[in-house]
Amino acid sequence: MQKEMAYSFPDEVLKHVFSFIQSDKDRNAVSLVCKSWYEIERWCRRKVFIGNCYAVSPRMVIRRFPEVRSIELKGKPHFADFNLVPDGWGGYVLQWIAEMAGAYPWLGEIRLKRMVVTDESLELIAKSFKNFKVLVLFSCEGFSTDGLAAIAASCKNLRELDLRESEVDDLSGHWLAQFPETCTSLVSLNISCLGSDEVSFSALERLVDRCPNLRSLQLNRAVTLDKIANILRRAPQLVDFGTGNYAAELQPDVFSNLAGAFSSCKELKSLSGFWDVVPAYLPALYSICPRLTSLNLSYATIQSPDLIKLVSHCPRLQRLLVLDYVEDSGLEELASSCKDLQELRVFPSDPFGVEPNVSLTEQGLVAVSLGCPKLQSVLYFCRRMSNAALVTIAQNCPNLTRFRLCIIEPKTPDYLTLEPLDAGFGAIVEHCKDLRRLSLSGLLTDHVFEYIGTYGKKLEMLSVAFAGDSDLGLHHVLSGCESLRKLEIRDCPFGDKALLANAAKLETMRSLWMSSCAVSFGACKLLGQKMPKLNVEVIDETEPPDSRPESYPVDKLYIYRSVAGPRFDMPPFVWSMDEAVKILH
């Protein structure tokens, strides 16, 4: 049967057809059609995405896909962003690099998120891949400017170096000077995370000068405002620019130089950076504002009137990141000026303050939901919310795909009725049928999870904190959310029952994180025993979980599906519930 199939379409034809299929999902589907398609597809797959670096081993990936040119890996769970995952937990990339160095000499692209990357790894990349083009280190850590120097020096055709939100040990700014004079290929450079005051600015200027294809450049905070004009004049073709510091004493010649430099950038669509802003310099941006589609002012401690003035010049804005200094009044202006808005993120200026320091409430978000029909993605920190507001938002924005609301004080009820916010979030999941990501906050009972289980059929990621009454809540989610991939829960009274009753569900998900909940050590062991395709890991920094009774709840629990079996790089405070490993640990 297969031979007949093979005669009807030569491999080359199939390969050619498959080359148009880029998405992982489609590729995976293709590989399941029949054995010959599986074989052909695996030989021509060039891009692999691994959402959890421990779900599979490097060897397995290499064995199945021998000709990979681009790889993307994710390491630590999302809650690592908020210090819930202890240092040393894992997510080391070195082993991957080492094995790929031998197997993929033509590897050109490495994208990593929340992984530990050492200088040794970077040096190995620099040495091993002759055609290396793209390095993206998103929220990574463990490396220094020495590792970057190795990359700069060796990668002759480097196109992208993006260090966004990573923690870099800044030993010296001279690494930039390691890019050889012959390197003219840079398209994207993001060094915004570097703290160093010593980034060699002259080396940066020379680099920008000789890279005519540079489209995206994000400077770090140490670069002063007076230097921006120099850079922009060397790169008027920029599409995406991140300033450094945007503060200086107001001087007319500096201002006009800056305004002129910005106006010469006819392609500029996206701005970020803006640390330490002096509002008087914002009008220098006015000439490019009409073209701006993306604006990240989330570090700019400028007040609402200045934000309003700026935003009112940007009618094409699709994406805005801002601090809550924008206030309700600023968001109302946004709603009336920016009808193309798709994404809004409002961050707290004083997250640990007890009293509100700005006049930002649910009203601002309601205004945006009313005025911006294309709104799809929301991240909103505020101090009060009502069910009525959430219902209004849900009805105004049925196209929401991401809704993350953080009411700063845990368990805050509806401020008008003092009831839980179940109905409000229920309306969100009911009306927003394409909702893929949801983060909950405020006072919530098991009811909200009933709504989520009933309506959240496309929900892929759910974040829960200080919510729910009982295991029923967790059960609703695990049994109802068909598309669920990632579930992260902290400080909720969810225990063994729902978890054990829905054990099979966990194999259909990427991962489950539960911390400060009520899952017992005994249940974790049982899960580990019964579900060989799951890695069940207990994290406890104070004492081994088996030094206490089995009914005692574990501190932190991370469960993920894996075909690689338990990992071998666990630190002392992580225990695997896998039977075999337990004996050896």
């Binding site: 809650f79 962003d81 908020f82 210090n83 819930l84 202890p86 240092d87 939100e165 923690e167 995370c193 005051d197 510091n245 503060a247 640390w275 330490d276 802003v277 002096v278 509002p279 989330s298 570090y299 401690t301 400028i302 007040q303 200094y325 961050f347 707290p348 200026s349 004083d350 997250p351 640990f352 303050g353 007890v354 320091n357 920190f381 953080c406 700063i408 845990p410 368990k411 904190a465 009454d469 009982s470 902290r490 400080d491 009274p493 225990g495 400060s516 009520a518 920094e541 104070t542 009914s551 005692y552 709840p553 501190d555 405070f573």
Partner: protein, 184 residues
């Protein structure tokens, strides 16, 4: 109050090096002690009430809440103290022999004596008074700074306004090197 003692007795402040010690107080050890309360229905409120009674008057920070990433928090530190929404002027301060760097906002100070006092308090050392002729003679420490041109100067040599606008970072030198400075 009883519970404060209990918290201390269970050494809640212990954590891995680098973890925020005050924040650890909010780990749910109280929850663990009333495990049966949590698991059975309707008792959640009991735990909460206990919790509220025990909560100290000042706001206690919960680990990882609100969910704001550390680099964002770092950007906002010090902003509350500023009168205008203007700029801070943060410079690194190193002290010979100390393993860590500190950062200070020069804008907070109005004069050399204020700055020197702050440094003395921050690093627990004595710098003393500046004199044009003898620098910081008599002290084991000499505060120096790197200016815009990359030169290392003795703090106090130039007028305050000029110092503020040209200082890139501070280094408090120690010992014989320090004593050698200032003797023009």
């Amino acid at each position: 109050m009883e519970n404060d003692l209990n918290l201390k007795a269970t050494e809640l402040r212990l954590g891995l090096p680098g973890s925020d010690e005050p924040e650890r107080q909010m780990t749910p050890r109280p929850n663990k002690r009333t495990l049966s309360d949590i698991v059975s229905e309707g008792s959640r409120s009991t735990t909460e009430e206990d919790h509220q009674d025990n909560a100290p008057p000042a706001k206690v920070q919960i680990v990882g809440w609100p969910p704001v990433r550390s680099y964002r928090k770092n950007c906002l530190q010090g902003k509350k103290d500023e009168v205008e929404g203007g700029t801070g002027m943060y410079v690194k301060v190193s002290v010979d022999g100390a393993p860590y760097l500190r950062k200070i906002d020069l804008k907070v100070y109005r004069s050399y004596p204020q700055l020197l006092l702050a440094l003395e308090n921050m690093f627990k050392l004595t710098i003393g008074a500046y004199s044009e002729r003898e620098g910081y003679n008599g002290s084991n420490y000499a505060p120096t700074y790197e200016d815009r041109d990359g030169d290392w100067m003795l703090v106090g040599d130039v007028p305050w306004e000029m110092f503020i606008s040209s200082c890139k970072r501070l280094r408090i030198m120690k010992g014989s090197e320090a004593r050698g400075l200032g003797c023009v």
